[in-house]
């Protein structure tokens, strides 16, 4: 019972943060709401019993990725964004589209899917189980993903460095 109340509480924070993320006009406020969303998601995982996933959620998303977001906003010194009235296409097609999509997803989940909802505290969150899954049962996909991420990092470095700097080789004055 107590768990259920907490679960709903964090769920409400999560949704409120997501809405606030869209409503706020200042980028830093949006970034902070996104952190609140990430943190409350971690709390939800924790309540479901997936302790390891919760900790990783906080460390990776709230602690590392969002720090980069905030640094970028600080560096660019992005100010308030201007309000527009919004495009007519978005209102005419977007709003009904979102509504229909939401109804479809809810209908599929409630009546058409064979999966059961996870009871609170029932997930296997033990690091041992997760390690066995990652490094034994799903070893190949896991390693392939890591190579994929490595390639993405190298691509980002190549894209970010200026072409003439690449042609000249490593900078001498940086030493």
């Amino acid at each position: 019972m107590f768990h259920l109340i907490l679960f709903l509480f964090f769920g409400a924070i999560c949704v409120a943060g997501a809405v606030n993320l869209l409503v706020q006009s200042h980028p830093i406020n949006s970034a902070l709401s996104l952190i609140a969303v990430m943190a409350s998601l971690a709390a939800e995982y924790l309540l479901l019993g997936a302790e390891f996933v919760a900790a990783v959620q906080v460390i990776v998303y709230a602690g590392a990725i969002m720090v980069l977001f905030v640094i970028t906003i600080m560096l660019l010194n992005a100010g308030k964004e201007e309000r527009t009235k919004g495009s007519r296409v978005a209102i005419l097609i977007g709003v009904p589209g979102v509504l229909i999509g939401g109804v479809l997803v809810a209908w599929t989940l409630l009546y058409r899917s064979n999966t059961q909802a996870v009871p609170i505290g029932a997930l296997k969150g033990d690091p041992h189980d997760i390690a066995r899954l990652l490094f034994h049962d799903f070893l190949l996909p896991f390693e392939v993903t890591s190579v994929l991420i490595l390639i993405a990092i190298m691509g980002a470095v190549v894209l970010a460095s200026r072409p003439e700097a690449v042609a000249r080789g490593p900078r001498k004055d940086a030493e």
């Binding site: 900790a55 602690g63 720090v67 640094i71 940086a174």
Partner: protein, 338 residues
């Protein structure tokens, strides 16, 4: 154990730990001033109480009664929230630190720890990684070039060194096979302290921990010779005190972790009547933490500050490869033995 006793014991433990932590924070400031003074051939605080022991109280009163300035050019909501964020995350991480063994008080018994999670170490890392926001947001919301530079330096430095800090702990985890801080300590019985098994990891951890807590020789975020006071330039009174307390609380947490992971936590010679057997482990733990706090201060008043590019190059080109090499070697040895 019924739910009522559980709640009562938890509240007692939380209040006690929080009280001890805040006192330790106050007195490490006193210790810092005293040790730095003796290193520089001065006396340090002597006027308030014997050996200046009441100086932290006087400082606290001063901070409360100082004028609390909020400059017109700051971004107010975040300017006020930043010190709170820094302090809250600095204090929260103490909640999973075990500082003693199982104790029996009358019919009840409890571990000397607020809560024992099987992912305790990850929780500490997660909470400390959130602490960056306090510093970064303080620098940004102050709307001041020195603050912004300090905040940027702090966040870049903390993110960089967090990588080697986390990787240095992997070696310990491979040997222990558990993320629970209690299990890690239990695995170090009979003087099998991890410092002997993982000396390289220990030094990587120690250096990265200094950088994580923004202490000299890595205190570039508040380098007073170039940035006035870095991210807390615009802060005064209790808001400044919060950053101050957060820094020292982080130091305590890092010292606790070093003790638990590498120096056998509360393990030590235990003898005598039951009451002594209960107190001695806590005493050993406190002594080891005190040693690391002293080391912190000793290093700060001995070494000069790095240059910023040196700091970054050292973090990424020396510490990180070393930490990765340590993991590979440890994993190979463990696999070979198994």
């Amino acid at each position: 154990m019924s739910i009522t006793t559980f709640v009562i014991i938890s509240i007692i433990k939380s209040v006690a730990v929080l009280g001890v932590l805040l006192t330790a924070v106050a007195y490490s400031v006193w210790l810092e001033r005293k040790v730095s003074a003796h290193i520089q051939n001065r006396w340090g605080p002597t006027r308030v109480g014997p050996f200046g022991l009441l100086q932290p109280v006087a400082d606290g009163v001063k901070f409360i009664f100082k004028e609390d300035l909020t400059q017109p050019h700051v971004y107010k909501p975040i300017f006020i929230a930043a010190p709170i964020i820094a302090l809250v995350f600095a204090i929260t991480s103490i909640s999973v630190i075990p500082f003693g063994n199982w104790v029996d008080i009358g019919p009840w018994g409890t571990y000397l720890q607020i809560t024992d999670l099987n992912i305790g170490l990850l929780v500490v890392l997660g909470i400390t990684s959130m602490g960056v926001y306090g510093v970064a947001l303080a620098g940004w919301s102050s709307n001041n070039k020195y603050s912004l530079l300090g905040g940027l330096r702090a966040s870049a430095q903390m993110v960089s060194y967090e990588v080697s800090l986390g990787l240095s702990l992997v070696g310990v985890l491979i040997i222990t096979g558990s993320l629970s801080l209690r299990d890690i300590v239990d695995a170090q019985r009979h003087l099998h302290w991890n410092i002997f098994l993982q000396p390289v990891a220990f030094f990587i951890y120690l250096i990265s921990a200094y950088a994580e807590t923004n202490r000299t020789p890595f205190d570039l975020p508040e380098a007073e010779s170039e940035l006035v006071a870095g991210y807390h330039t615009e802060y005064s009174a209790m808001k400044f005190a919060m950053f101050f307390m957060a820094e020292y609380a982080n130091m305590v947490t890092v010292a606790c972790l070093a003790t638990l992971l590498f120096f056998g936590g509360w393990l030590g010679p235990v003898f005598g009547p039951p009451i002594l057997q209960m107190i001695l482990p806590v005493l050993w733990f406190c002594l080891k933490v005190f040693f690391f706090m002293f080391l912190y201060i000793w290093v700060r008043w001995t070494l000069p500050r790095f240059r910023y590019d040196q700091l970054m190059a050292f973090g990424w080109k020396v510490l990180l490869p070393l930490a990765v090499a340590n993991i590979v070697v440890t994993a190979l040895i463990v696999a070979w033995r198994a």
